[in-house]
């Protein structure tokens, strides 16, 4: 396995036709590297949720994925509106997604809970009007 690799993705905002492309790309790269299917699924799901959040709430952002022999680190950074109440946002079922997003099948309030569930470590740094950085780690 390659020792250390960093991938950077620009996620464009409000473009649902491309949402998920970054996660798909990471998924296929991890598969090629021989990472176990269970770990690939964890990374793909948590990153996709984060990517979708960026599109829905933050007009896009940047995702950096660092793959090392022992862990996969994902840093999702946006210049969106920030999260007013992180504790509330972490509750399953709590959602601020608008109606048009709900009609696409999202907005069930499971994004952040899913990200927490599928990663070993998760940290949210957010500032109103400045942006949000979500850091997630999956241990291999």
């Amino acid at each position: 396995m390659i020792n250390y690799i960093t991938l950077t993705y620009q996620v464009s905002g409000d473009d649902f036709t491309r949402a998920g492309e970054a996660s798909s790309d990471v998924k296929s790269k991890l598969k090629q590297m021989g990472v176990s299917p269970e770990m690939v699924r964890k990374v793909a799901i948590s990153m996709y949720e984060g990517e979708i959040n960026m599109v829905i709430h933050a007009h896009g952002g940047i995702i950096k994925v660092t793959i090392s022999p022992h862990e996969i680190l994902m840093v999702l950074e946006d210049q969106g509106p920030g999260i007013p109440d992180v504790e509330k946002a972490m509750q399953a079922g709590y959602s601020t997604a608008p109606e048009n997003i709900r009609s696409l099948g999202f907005g069930a309030g499971m994004g952040l809970p899913n990200m927490k569930k599928y990663t070993d470590e998760m940290d949210i740094k957010t500032k109103i009007g400045v942006g949000t950085t979500v850091t997630m780690k999956v241990k291999l």
């Binding site: 799901i45 099948g105 999202f106 899913n114």
Partner: protein
């Protein structure tokens, strides 16, 4: 039962055939909320839903379900259809309601 076996039963119409037809189908899974399906859909399951948009294809790809079965006469929109082709996702469809579509899969598996 492989996905090919399921397709061969001709109980579902074919919207797109992927490259995973030799995969065994582990069971039906029903959910229309993509964010829940994302976390819960078992890999290798036949996912029955009425949502036929591009995000359905992305969730199917990431969760590695065997196929999507669109129930209640739902169909893929044009962008979703292109994405399904592009990502080699098998998509079937039926006029049956969700429960009955899932039940047919279940009965085939337990026959």
């Amino acid at each position: 039962m492989t996905l090919q076996d399921l397709v061969n039963k001709n109980i579902f119409s074919i919207s797109n055939l992927g490259d995973n037809l030799n995969l065994p189908v582990v069971g039906p899974y029903c959910c229309d909320l993509l964010s829940i399906a994302m976390g819960k859909a078992p890999a290798g399951s036949a996912w029955v839903t009425v949502m036929g948009n591009i995000n359905t294809i992305a969730v199917a790809s990431l969760t590695e379900v065997a196929c999507i079965i669109l129930a209640e006469g739902a169909s893929l929109d044009d962008t979703a259809k292109m994405k399904a082709k592009d990502q080699n996702i098998t998509v079937l469809s039926t006029e049956k309601p969700i429960f009955e579509a899932a039940l047919s899969v279940y009965q085939l598996l337990n026959a």
